[in-house]
Symmetry: C2
Subunit: 334 residues, 2 copies
């Protein structure tokens, strides 16, 4: 039973339900009593965030996403949208691609359509550097960066702790006897930079030479076939590595394919804990960045802005390693 069900059963709008929940201002006694009766009858507990929500002034939230075809972002949008709908808010999405120019154009379009806040789902480093348009928008309405970071007034930053997750994975592999990790990546998002920083930090602390480290990072092309081919080339060139970490599940799976083709076995770890990790063979150990909780946190902090200041403007959420057949901390020692 949500606010829509209550509205339907009461025969009134959700705005009216909201007004009743918030004290009954501008609601007739008759309507007020009728709605309260339905609420009590159904045992409905209004979402804590819906209280105090001025539905008449805050109706439509904009979300900007760089690449909607990426299953990770598609899932992020789905979570954000559902959670915002549950607050009785409308959601408009804009798809930007990765160029700063297009992102600014889409941002302006959402502002022209008079959205009351903007979520940015994933951000490239380029966008974060040339972020004047975002900073300007944040002077007028709340801006929430999900896996991005801009320190400016009015901007809320919520990100998973990708740096720590990759950092500790390198240590886990090392402790199991695998000390020559190959790190494969293919984008330059904020998250990608965090992950790479975690990899470099761990390798450096474990006493690797910088030259060696460079050899063991490989930027992959776009399709699964091209990715596998690039890793095969590395194997055939006798590059020394004894385990693989992928910045996304798809990249780790490309490594699995290449290793299988050369009859090699070594631990492989992916990222995102997507459906691909379950489908791959062997099933893929993957870092779960707790996307749904990340989205909940982002929506919660945004919602705090509707009644005052948010309790925080920079939040990181720890990730979790989900062990499957491609690497198990206990069994998989050299």
């Amino acid at each position: 039973m949500n606010i829509y069900d209550i509205a339907k059963k009461s025969g009134v709008s959700i705005a009216t339900i909201s007004r009743v929940i918030n004290g009954g201002k501008n609601v007739s006694k008759k309507t007020y009593d009728k709605v309260l009766a339905v609420i009590e009858e159904e045992g409905y507990t209004p979402n804590v965030f819906a209280r105090g929500l001025g539905l008449n002034t805050m109706e439509t939230i904009g979300i900007l996403v760089s690449d909607v075809a990426d299953p990770y972002y598609a899932q992020m949008i789905s979570y954000l949208t559902t959670k915002l709908h549950n607050l009785g808010l409308n959601v408009l999405l804009g798809c930007t691609g990765n160029s700063l120019e297009n992102k600014n154009r889409e941002l302006q379009m959402l502002l022209d359509k008079r959205v009351d806040a903007i979520f940015l789902a994933g951000s490239s480093q380029q966008e974060l550097r040339g972020n004047q348009a975002i900073k300007s928008a944040a002077k007028k309405i709340p801006v929430i960066m999900v896996n991005g970071r801009i320190n400016a007034p009015g901007i809320i930053n919520v990100a998973s702790n990708d740096q720590e997750a990759i950092y500790s994975s390198v240590f886990k592999l090392h402790n199991s006897g695998f000390s020559k990790p190959l790190y494969v990546f293919n984008t330059y998002t904020y998250s990608a930079h965090q992950k790479m920083a975690g990899f470099k930090k761990a390798c450096s602390e474990l006493g690797k030479q910088k030259a060696f480290l460079r050899e063991n990072m490989l930027q992959l092309p776009n399709t699964l076939e091209e990715m596998s081919a690039a890793i095969l080339k590395l194997i055939d060139a006798d590059k020394e590595f004894d385990c693989v970490i992928g910045s996304e599940d798809m990249l780790a799976i490309a490594a699995q394919k290449a290793l299988k083709e050369r009859d090699l076995k070594m631990p492989v770890i992916g990222y995102n804990n997507s459906i691909l990790a379950k489908v791959s063979s062997p099933t893929l150990t993957s870092i779960d960045n707790r996307l749904e909780e990340l989205c909940s946190k982002a929506v919660k902090l945004f919602h705090e802005t509707t009644t005052g200041s948010p309790s925080s403007t920079y939040v990181t959420l720890d990730c979790q390693l989900i062990e499957r057949d491609s690497f198990r901390t206990e069994n998989n020692t050299k």
Copy 2:
């Protein structure tokens, strides 16, 4: 070099570029000459659809999608958005979920935001039955159904020929000696109904008893694990089937997992030709419904409405079987 690059290089808006391309009405001689010089210098050929596009009156297109977290719909939105952006149009997305009520609410929101056309990306049967809101919208602006069908003025329908694709797959399996197909599905979209109709038609023509047919259709739950468990249950109950067709790749992969667990081998065919088909082991033979061409066709027919009547209001696009290890027409005979 696209219209944006030309606009940037000329130092004018894309609306001005459009006016120049369309004959130069309301453009100063100086601007007209400058833009034409840039167009000639860059060897720019305007997209045929961008000709005659009244950018001042047709600026923002709305897309409604039921489930953005579904990779198939996410990819569909990505294609539609890119193609509409290439015409110099803005795109706003609304996520509806599957209930008719929510879809109508999101439709109204897009109309309130004054979109100039609406694309519906995937439609449930329920929506198609209770489609009064869509029909009303179509009286004011073009409505384009992508994998949906409503016969009413102002509505353009573009769909892949899912019925024929499943129908001919059953025949292909039959011709290879596999005559007891199990069909697994889990949604009730327009496409799902088409696929099921194709399965029933083929089985009926191949002389199957209705009772037998019913036993060989199984509606699956939502997660990969639950899907596999449901198919395992069927295997353990000695239900007779010798090949599997899934209405989506994920469902076919669930069948592969269940079969592997019982050491059974039989042909499996999926649908959508998604990345999952390449990642699964054995790699999955899958029906490619040519999503990008479908989206191109939808955008093309929509665009024809900006200058007159569309050349067709009901188009179907044939699918293609992409053979991989899970079933090859030639090798895989009984």
